[in-house]
Symmetry: C2
């Protein structure tokens, strides 16, 4: 697999009261075209990831909207997989190119979440679980993640401070990212002493509710090389992609302290890319809740089971270490407009490999990885990126 | 293109108060496996089309639900394009096979619409248009289709009786379909004298609000032949697929009496299939409103512009004619659970080509076509099917 990324864009993430869903999508799409120096007429297909536009804005059919924005008649489809929607749109774009249906594809992710009372948002997001058998009995995602965190803490001796250090690290990174929702450092004490959302998780263990959008322009290697030669644009490649599923209901899992879908998706992506985890220098990991970053780093294989908490507190996942996790600030500090998240992860890795990340640049970034999940990793998607 | 269909299923369509969204999806998925005589473990990927589950049932992430139902870890994604969602899931399934990612794919379409007040349903469905600039000013799909009907009637001299004859014909067909929402014949006078929804459209020009689901199992030609040999199942092939977009806003169209996206999608599908319109014996056409069947048959090229009304009244689109349109009863009588519609069309064509349609069997059905749109044909999808 060698799919070229010839353009990438991401809006500011945050509470963007002056921008509608349509505004965000248009901003991201047009910025990606500018980045690629590409005419919209070259786009053969569009895939747009989104989870909640129907529930939150009354708007479905974002495929039609994305095509209208570009003034094109090409095929345009919406893709959904809860918080993994953006990465699934990326996979659809890759499939379109690999199937021969398209030479150049635009993939978008967008979510507008802040025009509502946050109780409605939490209810809507529970649509990522089983509405009939989890939501009806009062489950929420903060609640489910709190259960997972408590089991993990008991089983592996993870301390409250170690768990908090994930959020502290991601806020430190976010402070270096001008697009991040939160650009402010926090301390372990801030995390522990902040409002409890679902014990043991406090508000600083949870991602914010954000607005935002991100887009990539993909193409065949052949098109990219010709285009880059003419327009002097930089090319980054996707060399591996994996996707797997686990039960929708958390209660039906074999284990609560590892995510099978992430393990399988990562294995697939690595096999296709033909590289190994130690080759990777920078990764964007789905830290939907602080506990998820810990479990996910073990599922992917960056650390041994039970060791991530200590590693994080010992600064082994931040700048200067062998692997830098979530240089963008992650979902925690960069923000989590759910449909946009997967593509904002890909955007970060593209910028890191293009060496365009200024204060948060990871040195010698040659291979990057993104990991994006929907629900409690019911859907898991992993992509691997390379410079050439 | 030669994608095999080795299994097909469709639930009863109607007001299914005793079945939830999950029940419908499970019924359809499991029936398709039974039809194909296939073990779920053979499925490499699942794509599920749905429009409104978030708004109507609080449930997103149907990809995760579909995988859980099959007890599989394979990739599973939700696809949306308003009322064309089912056909877009089919296109995703085709892409997965053509890209080499999958050998066997399940595609589903499902919608649960009847647990709500119908005003909420109409509001939700307007998510297929532009919420900011059409819905906010009071537009609904019956209203937009009424505008189109009025313009078409003025421009081409279509009579009220001719328009009504589309619904009469589709109800006649639906009366022969045990899965149809309405299995009752109606007269032209019934249509004209029934409740006005948006002048000139009466309730019998509009599709019902239905629950239902449909599934297909697709595979490579190679897998299908081996499987059919072992299990004595019948294979039908998809030999062409096309998809195109038009503006989300009706106001931005070049024409109100033809749908550019349908013309483009049909052209693509025919080129890939390498057949011509006169080769086709049976078609399922998106008669979301009676006027849409008329315009769509012209866009596809079954009749010349302005001639469909007369042709319908003269029985040129029913059993015994050169081309039979909507033998299932169409959206009008079979019902329109929006996410399921595209795949229920494909199901009907598969059954017609397998000669399993009993009283509504089209004689000598060798080539079939499905046409499915989202919004006012903002998204249009055409598939062409053959016996071998």
């Amino acid at each position: 697999m060698k799919i070229a990324i010839i353009g990438a864009a991401c809006t500011k993430f945050g509470e963007l009261w002056d921008k509608s869903l349509q505004d965000l999508l248009a901003e991201s799409q047009l910025k990606a075209l500018v980045d690629a120096k590409l005419d919209a007429k070259k786009i053969d297909a569009i895939f747009t990831g989104n989870m909640c536009s129907g529930m939150f804005s009354g708007q479905m059919h974002l495929g039609g909207m994305a095509a209208q924005i570009l003034n094109t008649n090409c095929q345009s489809t919406t893709i959904e997989g809860a918080c993994a929607s953006g990465s699934l749109a990326l996979r659809a774009g890759i499939m379109a190119i690999e199937s021969g249906q398209a030479e150049v594809v635009m993939v978008n992710g967008v979510e507008k979440m802040t025009d509502l009372d946050s109780s409605i948002t939490t209810t809507g997001l529970m649509g990522a679980g089983n509405h009939e058998t989890e939501h009806f009995v009062g489950a929420t995602f903060p609640g489910l993640n709190a259960l997972i965190a408590r089991i993990y803490m008991n089983q592996f001796g993870l301390t409250r401070e170690e768990l908090a250090s994930v959020s502290v690290k991601n806020h430190k990174h976010g402070a270096l990212n001008p697009n991040a929702h939160f650009q402010k450092e926090i301390t372990i004490q801030n995390v522990i002493n902040s409002q409890i959302i679902a014990d043991p998780l406090t508000i600083f263990d949870c991602p914010p509710i954000s607005d935002g959008a991100a887009s990539l322009i993909l193409s065949t290697e052949k098109f990219a090389q010709k285009h880059a030669f003419n327009k002097k644009t930089k090319i980054i490649y996707i060399i591996g992609s994996g996707q797997a599923s686990d039960t929708l209901n958390l209660s039906q899992r074999e284990s609560f302290v590892e995510f099978k879908a992430s393990q399988l998706a990562c294995k697939q992506a690595l096999e296709i890319a033909n590289i190994k985890i130690p080759d990777i220098n920078v990764a964007e990991i789905h830290d939907g809740f602080s506990i998820m970053e810990i479990i996910s780093l073990e599922d992917i294989g960056f650390f041994k089971k039970g060791e991530v908490g200590k590693a994080t507190q010992n600064n082994l996942t931040t700048f200067g270490s062998k692997i830098v996790i979530n240089p963008s600030g992650g979902l925690k500090a960069k923000g989590h407009p759910v449909g946009a998240t997967g593509l904002s992860q890909a955007y970060e890795i593209v910028m890191q490999l293009r060496q365009e990340c200024d204060k948060r640049q990871v040195k010698n970034a040659n291979f990057g990885l993104t990991h994006n999940v929907g629900g409690c990793a019911t859907t898991s998607v992993v992509h691997i990126f390379a410079k050439e």
